[in-house]
Symmetry: C2
Subunit: 361 residues, 2 copies
């Protein structure tokens, strides 16, 4: 079977590119002796990808309890990296009772007290804010929460997600250092108070690659680096050619007078994400590539999406209805989430495998 | 079971509101004797909803072949309302061979010739453009395509999707009339040439409600009216209180200093759709309602989304971690697509049923 036989729209995953991206991150982490990579499976959500990104059941990060359950058998050591609630603490405890070792995060004193007394014995990390201002307390405020967690304290956790606003290597290095300095400062304060934060965890794909040193850190989390996208390429996470996932689409209409074509990949197949709107180069809802994933149609991008229609301008008017293209995504995490499986290729058009994903919550 | 027992995030469908919205559209269509409503199932994608919106196996519209197959048993008479390709024509023929009666659309002369000679005998409508400039040929250019389809011609098809840019009833009426006039003009030209377009099909939720008359039209398609959303409310499709679907979410963090709270409904649970950006009132990524779906938190909207985090500002700071809210969607078609099922309520918090959806392609 080749890409010409697949129903469209669907996801294509090039394992040759994936392997390159994984090696790049592994080399980046290997610069820091003693630091472990805990890949974030929120993007790929696939056991087959986890087998390559976190071999030998290595530690992983998850973003939903559906992922936690799906990965639990092969990957016991997990951090569920979204602020825990009382109800979800019960769910995590139930998964751990079946053999998983899922740790949770919190920045809330009330939750910390609940974690301390929960019969499930779930361990937790205190979430620290190092500048993103999404979740987490300032490093100086981590101690009371850690004390409330008591003997269930697993460590400290932060995410330098404001790196996504960076546009050059110097800025990325600066944010990576702020991420490291913030979380290790909190760790020092905990140690000064007699606590023992075993895990000191940080990460985002850009900061993981740009960190000069990671003294005091035990592990790095990153996810989108596996697949990459048009936005991450502009952040310098990977070369533009190293986007591992594309959406296979068919031409369903042509408007020569407008110079546009219509694809059967719309807002559902591509997502409505507009990450590149704030990037130096705006790719609309995705860049249109040929069937070998080369940019041979120049600047052809998806300028408008409807639910099942994607409008391409300037349209490669040599294409006819039924011809196929591959669309590189703006934000791969959002694009892949609408699909149930990956059609895997290895640098050619031959489909060598189908890999499943776990969607939902 | 009540909404307090469900894992979050998840979809809540209030069947009381759904029933009101269905009745509103049925009354609007009943103003036009001889005109049939062909509900578009692209939003709900649920047999349980179809049983209410298209009772007795009435005609429906679908946007994917996954929907076509899923609905085929109960609803034979379908239009697949996205431009057909050669490969998908084979798939439709296979479904029809099993008992369905799925009609396809095209605006392409090459496809028209393929349809004419395809062994499956699939019938087709010519797609006409009445001002949206997405798919379709101008009304004056429909004849050669209809002639190429030959004996498989089922009729004419158009979608006044540019009604979504309208902001008042007078504009909606004008676009509705342009939609009607365009497709019926094409029908006249076909009849003058001796062809017999049996179906003359048009529609969008706003034009379906605002059309003054539908002379020459045989059927109206509409979909989003069933559930509604913050964008459609501003188009006048339904009152703001009549949004049938909300996303149930839990508070996962609080930032009193910023005056914000974090929910576990992010870009995946809500979608990245920003329809209301172009509307008079911008609701960010959704409006935060209380557990009875009332706007008792004032102007609290989702101002920022990450994959699994939704940031609410101004945050209802009385809420604690684990407390629950319901989020009204910007664009319901996009929001519901990330979810596999509806948790059905009937004006209260009690969950009376779980209805499945068909996602993917």
């Amino acid at each position: 079977m080749t890409l010409d036989d697949l129903p469209t729209p669907c996801l294509v995953l090039d394992v040759a590119v994936l392997t390159r991206n994984l090696a790049l991150m592994q080399r980046a982490i290997a610069r820091h002796p003693g630091v472990v990579l805990r890949p974030h499976m929120k993007t790929a959500k696939s056991r087959d990808v986890a087998a390559l990104a976190a071999p030998d059941g290595g530690p992983i990060t998850v973003s939903t309890l559906a992922e936690a359950a799906y990965f639990a058998e092969g990957w016991r050591d997990q951090i569920y990296a979204v602020g825990i609630t009382p109800q979800k603490l019960d769910q995590v405890a139930a998964l751990n009772a079946q053999g998983a070792d899922i740790k949770v995060i919190t920045d809330d004193i009330g939750m910390a007290r609940l974690i301390a007394t929960h019969p499930g014995g779930v361990r937790a990390l205190v979430e620290v804010d190092v500048g993103e201002h999404r979740g987490g307390v300032p490093p100086a405020d981590a101690l009371p929460i850690a004390q409330a967690i008591g003997s269930r304290l697993a460590g400290l956790f932060t995410h330098g997600g404001h790196s996504y606003a960076g546009r050059d290597a110097a800025t990325m290095e600066r944010i990576a250092e702020a991420e490291r300095a913030g979380v290790t400062r909190a760790a020092e304060m905990l140690r000064d108070a007699g606590l023992r934060p075993q895990i000191v965890s940080l990460g985002s794909s850009p900061t993981a690659l740009h960190a000069k040193h990671l003294d005091g850190v035990t592990e790095v989390r990153a996810g989108v680096y596996m697949f990459g996208d048009l936005f991450q390429a502009q952040l310098g996470t990977h070369p533009q050619d190293d986007i591992a996932v594309t959406v296979l689409a068919s031409v369903i209409g042509r408007r020569p007078a407008q110079g546009t074509i219509l694809l059967d990949s719309g807002g559902l197949a591509l997502s409505k994400d507009r990450s590149t709107q704030a990037a130096p180069k705006d790719y609309g809802f995705g860049l249109v590539l040929d069937m070998d994933a080369r940019a041979s149609f120049g600047e052809a991008i998806i300028i408008r999406t409807h639910q099942e229609h994607g409008e391409v301008s300037p349209g490669p008017m040599q294409l006819r209805v039924g011809d196929r293209v591959r669309v590189a995504p703006n934000h791969t995490c959002m694009t892949v989430a609408a699909h149930e499986r990956y059609h895997v290729v290895d640098g050619s058009r031959e489909v060598i495998a189908v890999w499943n994903r776990v969607n939902g919550w």
